[in-house]
Symmetry: C3
């Protein structure tokens, strides 16, 4: 495929600076790009590389375009422009592979059209699979599971009984949906297992990273709402709800019955206690530990989580603690000297 | 199924308050319950919901039952009562599915009675599987592995060679038992792999959460004792021992050769260094980092782990650090003023 | 197998102390060893056990050998000596199992010699598998994947399309190689998926722990270099590079585009922000959080990561914060008293 820079600008709703007729054959990173490639600059840290890149054009924000010799595609959202052009050059059209005879399909299963079911896929009884869904080898689809249209279930994913998966959902390899919630009642010195009778409901356009675990509800449902994006190795406990278009970085742990709002941003390795509410548009920076309800629109860090700016200050104070202790010891000495001096003077005056 | 409130009280060893003849058809959360359902209240936070619930009865502790109009099942352990009634209404009786012809069973395998072996299960040579065990699709049972009666091995679980699994054990999807311990000897600038020749032994009534990893011992065994319950995504290193009826929340990491006592409670995202002992009945609160031996009956938090109460105080001090620094700067100024004043007076007096 | 102590000393390049003709039949831990076994002592913590061990000989460093009655194999690197003797007694020679007829092999696949391909293995089109590779049940090898000679791919591993795996690589159960990087461009209120078009390249002699996730690059490659050893449940984001012979403990998270040098040592539960460089020979102690570029040869701890020694001091200060606050309150009181006294004297003098 070959496009002019003008074609690309039109596709992404941007403007051309320089020669718009230049022909673009691919898209590469700024260091790897060759003649004929378009590249992109979204992090000003990499600005110096613009002088040495061999790329024929660069996607860039109009604000940081300064004395640029390379032809440019100016975009208010260069990252989005980059993503759209990448999709143009790389994304393949879906082709149905059919249903492998090496897969296992249970009884009373409802299958959509143009499916791709790989070998060693297990589909339980009464499952419903939407059209153009792709299910990779080793995936386990439990009894009564529903999967929407155009969803991709990667290899070795588990979706346990009765859970529902929306349309255009992507479950990366090793994801576990609908494992038992961690519920035990103390019975003397032992633990009595609480049956986990609920389900997991995953709405449309959700993407869940490799080896994430999303437990089913004790009663009712664990609910991941429309457009949520989860990175790898995340733990979502039973009865959690995550609001629309919330994103989370890797290795986060959300405890039981937590309700997270929409458009929340969660950094890596964050954790929460159970039974709390986190409002819409909250940002939890990496490693923050949330121990109470959080009002909407907060920007938090630290453990326990406090306003990020306040946390940064406390953190700076923490690093200066040895210095602080030294200063306090010095003051103590000085105050003692003053007190003694004052006492001496007093005695002299008597 | 339908039971009277009196029947249920008898089942769980509780008492009835109000109409014991009322008929109960199901059990639901306090917000979702309908007429004919029993609900439960174990967290006083949700007490206000009691006024609006449509449930026909509620499981509650005698202590928090105040002016209750709804018929109630009074129990000293309402959570346990809830669990038992949930099991009554929801738990299915085990039904053997037999051994799928799409599974693979090795040589000299000993198989118990009434098994459920799903398609795409691999069972290695000389394995022994107890009666009424269920093994879901994609599970790998290595050579010489033993699995006890009534155990459930979910989809895509790996149990490597020679490991032993007790009776009534539940391994959730993606669990890895018996992977090599992380052992390397430095050999100049490189690492020399130490063969991991031991096993993992899992005793009766253990439950292990989705995608947990339990490494085999270098020599001897990694040992998870009777009744231990592990949540998801936990890492247990080689040669670790975990005592009876210890429970751990998700994403915890236990380093090599750590010995944990019985009835220990471990919060989420806790970590430990290697080669330490943690005594019986210890509680490690969420995210705590243990760096030394811990005596029994301690309640610890923080990193490095200290008594939880002390940690909370230090944590409060941490958040007030910017304020503390300001106070110190003010004292320094004041002391300087005092010192100058005193010096001036001294000079005046001379 | 039986070897004299002298044979073993020769094998590992060590020296004999005591009877070198003594015959050794096995190797065990110091507490479990019986007559005929050799044992080892690498941690001085276990020194008292030397008096009670039943072992016929012990591997030990010449420095800590004191009044030893047991015959000993003296080695400057006792851990390496132990590893080599363990390998001698335990390691089996590789035996090819052939290619199971219950596996699935795609089109135009290139297969090496003496392979062991288990049942329920899926190998995609145009994949290339080196000689003497072992691929366990449930492993998914995507289209165009390359695997080198003598590599071991354990059960339920996923290697997605086009990724390359070197020779003598070990991927433990549940590992995911080449899942999509976590890349989304904000598009109004929603997220637009950035196609992840790159690959993961894993060089020779790498070992990756159970359920680790290594994402493919957005463009180009995520690159794990020669001899890297990763423990379990580690997250490696897109476009990361990890230098030769770097080792990492479990549950570590490395964010996108981070470049880690060679011979780096990473403790458990460490995390990093994205787009930073960590120099050669750096040590990051357990749980440390790296937020900026790190020069070579640093030894760091804490969050944000600072020199470990400094962090330990600050940490000690943290635990003493309640005491510090008390001292400050006392000084404030004392300074006030002094000020009042001084004021009074001033007034008296007027």
């Amino acid at each position: 495929m070959e496009k002019t820079l003008e074609d690309l600008a039109e596709l992404v709703g941007g403007e051309v600076s320089g020669d718009g007729a230049i022909r673009i054959k691919g898209i590469k990173g700024i260091a790897e790009a060759e003649k004929g490639d378009i590249t992109f600059l979204t992090n000003t840290k990499y600005l110096p590389l613009l002088k040495t890149t061999k790329a024929s054009a660069v996607i860039i924000s109009p604000e940081i375009k300064t004395n640029l010799k390379t032809p440019a595609l100016l975009s208010q959202n260069p990252y989005l422009a980059f993503a759209k052009i990448l999709r143009l050059f790389y994304q393949k059209t879906y082709q149905s592979l059919g249903i492998s005879k090496h897969s296992f399909v249970g009884k009373e299963v409802t299958l959509g059209e143009e499916l791709s079911i790989y070998p060693f896929v297990y589909i339980g009884n009464r499952a419903k699979i939407g059209s153009r869904a792709t299910i990779f080898p080793g995936a386990f689809i439990g009894d009564g599971v529903t999967i929407g249209d155009d969803s991709i279930i990667y290899s070795n994913v588990t979706i346990r009984e009765r859970c529902t998966i929306g349309s255009r959902v992507i479950l990366h390899p090793g994801v576990v949906i609908g494992s038992d919630g961690f519920g035990f009642a103390k019975d003397g010195n032992q633990y009595f297992k609480i049956p986990q009778t609920g389900i997991v409901k995953i709405d449309d356009d959700v993407e869940i990273g490799a080896n994430c675990c999303i437990d089913r509800a004790t009663l009712g449902k664990t609910w991941i709402k429309k457009g949520v994006k989860l990175d790898n190795l995340i733990q979502i406990a039973h009865n959690v709800e995550i609001g629309e278009h919330t994103v989370s970085a890797a290795q986060v742990g959300i405890s039981g019955s937590v309700k997270i709002g929409s458009h929340v941003t969660i950094g890596g390795q964050v954790g929460t206690v159970g039974h709390i509410k986190i409002g819409d548009n909250v940002t939890l920076t990496a490693r923050c530990g949330v121990t109470r309800d959080i009002a909407p629109d907060q920007f938090l860090g630290g453990f326990p989580a406090i306003p990020h700016r306040k946390w940064l200050k406390a953190q700076a104070g923490f690093l200066n603690l040895p210095d602080l202790r030294k200063r306090i010891a010095e003051i103590e000495k000085e105050v003692q000297i003053l007190a003694e001096e004052l006492k001496k003077r007093g005695e002299e005056n008597e």
